[in-house]
């Protein structure tokens, strides 16, 4: 007897063609980029043989070094701040009695996902320039705070998902066994929340590392991060060094994103 099945998208005509086309469009350029990062040639598009020349060149480039350090400092600080804020927000939207404005708070926390980035960037530019005038401070903290702000939803969502998936009776059991609310959090909630927190922090780190738009608007002179440095280079002479840096960034992102998926996997 033929069994009736539900709607099966994979049986539609042309499904395989479209799927393959999508994957090719997504990954072929990246594959090419990676291949050409090992190119000996000075030209970006002409192959002249295998070499690590551009990796060496990028490593020795002091501007690249400075931008890399700056990127890592900003991403580390921003993801730390964003994750701490996200954990607080996630607890407040899952571990409390429903309160007025909870949905609004949820929307506000996730606002950076919805508002066009360039709008936030312009707004921050004005806001920070006012502060700069008032205080005279022109350091890295503007970038760190800006990055922390748009990283919050990326850290918030995995933490919240983890909290919602956790068995509430565990926390009740701890309270039943004389643990104060703080001890319940420290001894029972937090240890189980760690994978979510780590996942959120890593996602925030990658998002910060990758940001161009907001950084471009907010940064002061001499505060290039790796992506804005690369953008600046493209405006001048394009060298395969960019390919090498991109490939290195790609590896870091892929490793972190894979770790994220591994950590946010539901427990079996």
């Amino acid at each position: 007897m033929a069994r009736r099945r539900g709607f099966d998208v994979t049986r539609l005509p042309g499904f395989a063609t479209i799927a393959i086309l999508c994957f090719v469009l997504l990954y072929a350029p990246i594959v090419l980029l990676v291949i050409f990062s090992f190119n000996e040639s000075v030209s970006v598009s002409e192959w002249q043989g295998l070499s690590l020349r551009w990796y060496r060149s990028a490593l020795e480039n002091e501007q690249v070094q400075a931008a890399t350090v700056r990127s890592v400092v900003i991403a580390s600080a921003a993801s730390l701040i964003a994750t701490a804020a996200a954990v607080g927000a996630a607890l407040a939207t899952t571990r409390t009695r429903p309160w007025r404005g909870q949905t609004l708070a949820f929307a506000l926390v996730n606002q950076p996902l919805m508002v066009p980035e360039v709008v936030t960037a312009v707004a921050l530019l004005f806001f920070f320039s006012m502060i700069k005038v008032a205080t005279g401070y022109t350091g890295l903290w503007y970038l760190i705070v800006a990055h922390a702000a748009f990283c919050i939803p990326f850290a918030y969502l995995p933490v919240r998902a983890r909290l919602q998936g956790m068995d509430l009776t565990l926390e009740q059991a701890a309270a039943d066994l004389y643990a104060t609310p703080w001890q319940v959090f420290r001894r029972v909630t937090l240890p189980q929340l760690w994978p979510g927190i780590l996942a959120g922090a890593m996602l925030a780190f990658v998002i910060s590392l990758d940001d161009v738009v907001i950084t471009e608007f907010v940064k002061s002179a001499g505060q290039d991060t790796l992506p804005t440095y690369m953008l600046g280079q493209l405006r001048r002479a394009v060298t395969p060094e960019i390919n090498a840096i991109s490939t290195a960034l790609l590896v870091v992102s892929v490793v972190l994103v894979m770790a994220f998926f591994f950590l946010s996997r539901p427990r079996t």
Binding site: D167, T169, L170, Q172, D176, L177, Y178, T180, R187
Partner: protein
């Protein structure tokens, strides 16, 4: 002694309000194995959660040895719970789970270690002390949950259907084990279950609950032999219900006339009618078959069902209705009765129970 005084819990509000507990009154004695028995949704778990502190009652008072419990947060109450799902901490070992309550109470390290050792021995889990809770079986998790709740020596242990996830054989063992633990520790156990057999085997006293109220409180024998109302008689065990006329009543002793015209002495539940039409409840094994003309209720045997340990005789009564008689099987007693035979049902004086409703 726990005193629950007119405890009411209403969930929701307006048209959607649900009265989970309706003015529940009960006093649970020190060192008692007390069971809250009832169908799902009857409020037994809500009552347990009120005592543990996870549910605030809408009205009423709960005291332990005269101290107001409702004033205290869950972590301040000398009451521990064994959860239905066990709720063992997955990131801790068996021993760490058992020691958690003691540690939170701030007991010294070597006292914690000693008590954990004693508890492991008490539930026979000493060899598995360093295992993760995911590495042990369901029955073992159950024992860890028990040991964890007993370790801080609570005044009262609350057990929320702790045996329901175990298979039949293990459940039987754990019933005996729980009874043993209760008598060895001397802690008051309040046990919630929907399983009447579990309630009858383990309890000192049972409170039968339905629709947010306690319908009857008594010893297992009391509840089984003398159910006060139709719900209790029906929920616990099998029962024959007979329409009868109450002739006279004096304390718990009632004279009733059955539909067949025969008169018999029965017990009467407290409250209820003083005269007129009543319902009489008789357990199948409390009645017997007699030759036609000798019993109280003549009828025709319609079915004989063999169950291994006993045999059920279904009798269609001449006065209407069906009556089941249950008789223990013994190898020397050959049952010669066959469906279609004329018989009579008989039962002794004070066997039938006049119900309140």
């Amino acid at each position: 002694m726990i005193e629950i005084d007119r405890v009411t819990k209403v969930f929701g509000a307006g048209a959607e309000a649900f009265r989970a507990l309706d003015a529940v009154n009960v006093t649970i004695r020190q060192n008692e194995f007390f069971t809250l028995l009832g169908p799902s949704g009857c409020g037994k778990t809500t009552l347990l959660r009120v005592m543990a502190g996870f549910v605030d009652p809408t009205e009423g008072a709960v005291t332990l040895e005269g101290d107001d419990l409702l004033r205290l947060a869950p972590y301040e109450r000398p009451v521990n719970t064994v959860f239905q799902s066990y709720a063992l901490f997955p990131h801790m070992t068996v021993a760490e789970n058992i020691g958690f309550g003691l540690e939170m109470q701030g007991r010294p390290r070597d006292e914690v270690r000693r008590t954990v050792g004693e508890m492991l021995e008490l539930v026979r889990m000493s060899e598995l002390a360093d295992r993760r809770t995911s590495e042990i079986s369901g029955g073992q998790q159950q024992r860890v949950a028990l040991a964890r709740a007993l370790a801080p020596r609570p005044r009262v242990l609350l057990l929320d259907e702790p045996l329901s996830a175990l298979d039949f054989k293990l459940r039987k063992d754990m019933q005996l084990e729980l009874k043993r633990l209760q008598s060895e520790t001397g802690i008051t156990f309040i046990f919630v279950t929907h399983d009447q057999e579990e309630a009858l085997t383990m309890s000192d006293r049972i409170a039968v609950m339905n629709e947010g109220a306690i319908r009857q409180i008594g010893s297992p024998r009391d509840i089984y032999d003398h159910p006060a109302e139709r719900f209790v008689a029906d929920f616990i065990g099998d029962t024959n219900f007979l329409e009868a006329e109450l002739l006279s009543k004096e304390e718990a002793r009632a004279e009733v006339r059955l539909a067949s015209g025969a008169a018999v002495t029965a017990r009467a539940a407290e409250g209820g009618a003083e005269a007129g039409a009543v319902t009489l409840a008789i357990r199948p094994e409390h009645a017997d078959l007699a030759p036609e003309g000798e019993g109280l209720l003549p009828g025709r045997l319609s079915d004989v069902v063999y169950f291994g340990t006993d045999t059920h005789f279904h009798v269609d009564l001449d006065a209407g209705g069906r009556f089941v008689v249950r008789r223990q099987n013994t190898p020397d007693r050959a049952e010669a009765r066959a469906p279609g035979e004329r018989v009579a049902v008989r039962f002794g004086a004070r066997v039938g129970q006049v119900l309140r409703d």
